[in-house]
C-alpha cells in the first residue's frame, strides 16, 4: 500500500536533497566511515593507528611521511641538521598559528615533546632515545639524544605539537592513562595548528572537522574539502549499505564479501593498496617439549629443517588466489617493500614443494610428521581464521597434524604473550618504515626496552642480536641499510618466522572522490578532492 505518509516522506526527502545539493555548491563535505571510533582526541594518550591518522588532520608534527613516496618531508620543521651524533637542531616554520590565533613557538614544541615523554603517555616508542629537548630560540629547538639514533625523523612523524598555553589553561598538561580517574579536557577537545579543526565529537556517533582556513600549507594542497564528517559504523553490512545508498563517500575498511558488488557498481570505485603490514607464522623455539604434541622429550620446532619443511609445505599461491581472493602480496620477507632494509632478495620465498617438505621432515627424524598446537586470531587480520584453516590442511598433506584453535583478539594476544602457543599467527605493521622496528620486536632475543617484546616464539640467535644492536646506533646510512638487509636475510635463512604475505587493503569510495591510498592505511586529508 503506497500510503500518503510514504509519499510525504519521499517528497520531504527530495526537497531536503535539493537543499543539500544547493548547499554543497559551496561546502564540500567528505563523509567517511570505518568500524570503530577513535579512542581519544588526546595526541599523546593512546597509540592507536586510526586515532593517530585523525589527529594528523588537527595537529601538525615536525615532519611527516609523503603520502606517495613515504619519504620524510618537512611540516612544522622546515630544516634540520645534525649538530653532533646525539644532537639534532630543528628550525621551525615561520608564522605558524594555532587555530585559536596564537603563534606556534619553540616553547610549544618543547612542551609537546616532553608531554609525549610523560609517564602517562603511550607514545614512548616514538620518544625512545630522547634525552632532553631544549629551546635554542623562538624558532629553533634541539633534541638531545642518549645515543646516535638513525630513526629520529621517523619517530617524529608521530609526535604532534600542542599549544602549551591551551594545555595549561585546560589542565591537560599530561595525557590521560588507564590510571587517571577523571577525563582530561584534551581527551574530548582539540586545538592544533593542522589543516582541520574539530567542530564536534560525539564518541561512537560523529566526529565533525571543519577546514582551518589559516593553515600554512593550503596553497600547495589540492583538497577542496571544507568539512570532514566521520561516522563509525560497526556492522559491515550497514557500512556497505551506507556507501551504496550514497549517505557516505568513503569506507576505509569494506568487508571482503562486499567488494565484488562495490567494484561492479557504476557509482563506486575500489582502490587497492599494499598495506605496510606483514602476516606471518611464528614458532616456539624455546620450550623443550611442546604441550599438545605427540613428540615427547624434545621440541621439533627447534630444528630449522622442520621449520623450513612447514614453510615449504605452504602453497602460498592458493592462499593468495582462493583465501585472499587476490588481495594479498605473498612475500618471503618479514617487512613490506616500503620499509627500509627490504630488497628483492629478501622478498623471495622458498619454493612451495610438498616433496621437499617431506624430505626435510624425514631428515629431521619425523618421516611420519607430528602433532602440534596452532593458534590463530579470528578477528584481527583479513581472513585470519581462513588462512590458518588453509595452512592446517596444507600441513596435513605432509603429515603434520596442526591442532588449530582460533580465538578473538582480546584473549588471543595475552595468550601468545604468555608464550602458550606452539605455532601462532601474527601481523606486524611498521609505523617507522624501518625494518629495525620489526627485527627488534620479533627477532631480537627477549630483553628489555622493547627487545623481543613480540618474539613470542622466543627465537634467539647471537648474530641476530649483534646485528639488531648495531642497527640501533649505526648512523652511517649505507652501512645501516646493509645491516637491516642482513638481519632480514638472517631471519629468512634461519626460518625464524614463516612470512606469508603483505595485506592488501581495499578502500571503497564514490566515483567522484579523488584521494591517495597510503600504505599506513590512513587518509591524507589535504589530498582529498570531492568532484
Amino acid at each position: 500500500m503506497p500510503s500518503p505518509l510514504f509519499q510525504r516522506c519521499a517528497l520531504t526527502l527530495v526537497s531536503a536533497a535539493c537543499l543539500l545539493l544547493s548547499a554543497q555548491a559551496q561546502a564540500k563535505p567528505f563523509k567517511w566511515s570505518s568500524a570503530s571510533d577513535i579512542p581519544t582526541l588526546d595526541i599523546h594518550s593512546q597509540n592507536n593507528a586510526l586515532g593517530n591518522g585523525v589527529h594528523a588532520a588537527i595537529y601538525d608534527s615536525l615532519v611527516y611521511y609523503n603520502s606517495k613516496t613515504f619519504k620524510v618531508e618537512p611540516r612544522l620543521a622546515t630544516a634540520w641538521k645534525e649538530v653532533s651524533p646525539t644532537q639534532y637542531r630543528f628550525t621551525l616554520r615561520a608564522d605558524v598559528k594555532f587555530s585559536d590565533g596564537s603563534a606556534l613557538t619553540a616553547d610549544d614544541v618543547v612542551f609537546s615533546l616532553e608531554r609525549a615523554r610523560a609517564k602517562t603517555s603511550n607514545f614512548h616508542v616514538y620518544t625512545q632515545g630522547f634525552s632532553r629537548i631544549a629551546k635554542v630560540d623562538a624558532r629553533t629547538v634541539d633534541i638531545i639524544l642518549s645515543g646516535p639514533n638513525p630513526v629520529l625523523l621517523n619517530q617524529l612523524t608521530e609526535l604532534r605539537i600542542m599549544s602549551k598555553a591551551w594545555a595549561e589553561k585546560n589542565k591537560s598538561t599530561e595525557p590521560k592513562d588507564g590510571k587517571t580517574k577523571d577525563e582530561t579536557y584534551a581527551h574530548r577537545n582539540a586545538m592544533g595548528s593542522g589543516p582541520f579543526m574539530v567542530k564536534e565529537w560525539q564518541p561512537d556517533q560523529k566526529l565533525v572537522m571543519v577546514k582551518n582556513p589559516n593553515w600554512w600549507g593550503w596553497k600547495d594542497a589540492p583538497s577542496n574539502v571544507t568539512e570532514i564528517v566521520y561516522t563509525p559504523i560497526k556492522n559491515e553490512a550497514t557500512r556497505a549499505a551506507a556507501l551504496l545508498s550514497g549517505e557516505i563517500d568513503f569506507v576505509l575498511d569494506p568487508s571482503p564479501q562486499d567488494l565484488g558488488r562495490m567494484r561492479n557498481n557504476a557509482n563506486l570505485k575500489v582502490i587497492d593498496g599494499v598495506e605496510n603490514r606483514t602476516i606471518f607464522l611464528g614458532m616456539d623455539q624455546f620450550r623443550d617439549e611442546l604441550p599438545g604434541s605427540n613428540v615427547k622429550g624434545k621440541n621439533p620446532l627447534k630444528d630449522v629443517k622442520v621449520r623450513k619443511a612447514l614453510y615449504q609445505a605452504i602453497d602460498i599461491d592458493t592462499i593468495h588466489k582462493v583465501t585472499m581472493r587476490g588481495l594479498s602480496q605473498p612475500t618471503g620477507a618479514l617487512v613490506s617493500p616500503q620499509v627500509a632494509g627490504w630488497t628483492e632478495g629478501v622478498h623471495k620465498r622458498f619454493p612451495y614443494s610438498q616433496d621437499d617438505a617431506r624430505k626435510l621432515l624425514a631428515e629431521a627424524g619425523y618421516p611420519q610428521g607430528f602433532e602440534v598446537d596452532f593458534a590463530c586470531p579470528n578477528n584481527r587480520y583479513i581472513n585470519d581464521e581462513e588462512i590458518c584453516q588453509a595452512v592446517t590442511a596444507m600441513w596435513a598433506k605432509v603429515g603434520v597434524k596442526a591442532k588449530l584453535r582460533t580465538l578473538p583478539l582480546v584473549t588471543y594476544f595475552p595468550m601468545i604473550q604468555r608464550y602458550e602457543a606452539s605455532i601462532y599467527m601474527l601481523g606486524w605493521g611498521v609505523p617507522t618504515f624501518d625494518a629495525l622496528y620489526s627485527l627488534q620486536s620479533l627477532t631480537r632475543s627477549v630483553g628489555t626496552g622493547g627487545d623481543g617484546n613480540y618474539n613470542v616464539g622466543r627465537y634467539s640467535n647471537q648474530r641476530m642480536d649483534y646485528v639488531v644492536d648495531r642497527i640501533k646506533t649505526e648512523t652511517d646510512l649505507p652501512v645501516r641499510n646493509r645491516l637491516l638487509t642482513e638481519g632480514l636475510q638472517l631471519q629468512n635463512d634461519t626460518v625464524a618466522h614463516i612470512p606469508l604475505h603483505n595485506q592488501v587493503i581495499p578502500w571503497a569510495m564514490k566515483k567522484n572522490i579523488d584521494l591517495v591510498h597510503r600504505a599506513d592505511n590512513r587518509l591524507d586529508w589535504v589530498l582529498i578532492k570531492v568532484n
Partner: protein, 326 residues
Amino acid sequence: MLAFILQRLIQAMVVMVTVAFIAFLLFQYVGDPVVFLLGQDATQEQIDQLRADLGLNQPFFVQFGHFLANAVQGEFGLSLRQGAKVSRLIAERFPATLELALVAAGLALLAGIPMGVYAALRRGTFMSQLFMTLSLLGVSLPTFLIGILLILVFAVTLGWFPSFGRGEVVQLGWWTSSLLTLKGWHHIILPAVTLAIFQLTLIMRLVRAEMLEVLRTDYIKFARARGLSNRAIHFGHALKNTLVPVMTITGLQLGGLIAFAIITETVFQWPGMGLLFIQAVTFADIPVMAAYLCLIALIFVVINLVVDLLYFAVDPRLRMGKAGGH
C-alpha cells in the same frame, strides 16, 4: 502490604547481586583490555604496571567486592576504551535506546491490536490467513536479517530512509531526543520497525487468541441476545476484556525491547546502550559491560516489581492475608 513490598524488594536485591556476580564471573573470560590500551609496542613491564594500576591483578573476590561497593553508589568507574565516566556514557546513550524501544512498542501496539482483532473476527478469510502467515515469519526471522533486508530495500534500493544513525537530536537538559525533528523520525522508522516486528506478531497472536476466547464467553452471548450491534459487542465488550493481558505483556516486553535492542542498534548504528555494550565487548571494556548488565537487570526488576504491585492493587485475593502463589 508493607511485608509484601519488603519481601519483593529483598528478592529484587538478591536478583541484582546474582546478576552482578555472574556478570563479573564471565568477565574473567572475555579477554584482556590491557592489550588494547597499550598497543603492539608495549613492554612486559608496562603491561604489568597497567594491570596493577587497574587492579586487574587482584584476586577475584577482592575485585568483585570493590565493584559492588562502588556499584551501590551508582559508580562504575571509567570506561577503559573511552576514558569517560561509565555513568556519563550510559546516561548519554540511555535516551536513544528508550526512545527506540517506546516507538517500537507503540508501533507494535498500533499495528498488532487491529491485526489481531481482524484475524479473530474474520477467521479464515484471505487477509487473516495472510496476517497469520506473516506473523510466523516475523517470529522466526532473526532480527539482524530483518534489519539488513529493510536497509537493502528501503535505504539502498529505494533510498527512502537513511541506513544508519539517529539523525538530528534536540537537547532537553541531559536528555537528547530525536523525536522532535522530522529528520529524527526519518531515522527512527527502520530500526523501530525492525525492533517492533517480533513484538507486533506476539501481540497480534495474543489479541487474536484472547479475542476468540472472550467471544465464546457467556456475557458475549447475552450481549448478542440483548440485540447489541456487532460493533458494540466486538469493541465495547470483547476487546476491552482482551486488553488486560495485552497490557501486562506489553509492559513486561518493554524491558525485553530495551535489552534486545542490542542487535537492532548494531545493525543500524543506533547510538544507544546496546551498541555501547557490543563495542565494550569487542574491547573487553569491563566497567561498561558490568554497568550495562546491572542496569538491564535493574530495569527488569523494577518492571516486575511494578507489575507485582499493580496485581496487588488490582487483585483482592492477594490482599487477603497470606498471598498465594501465582
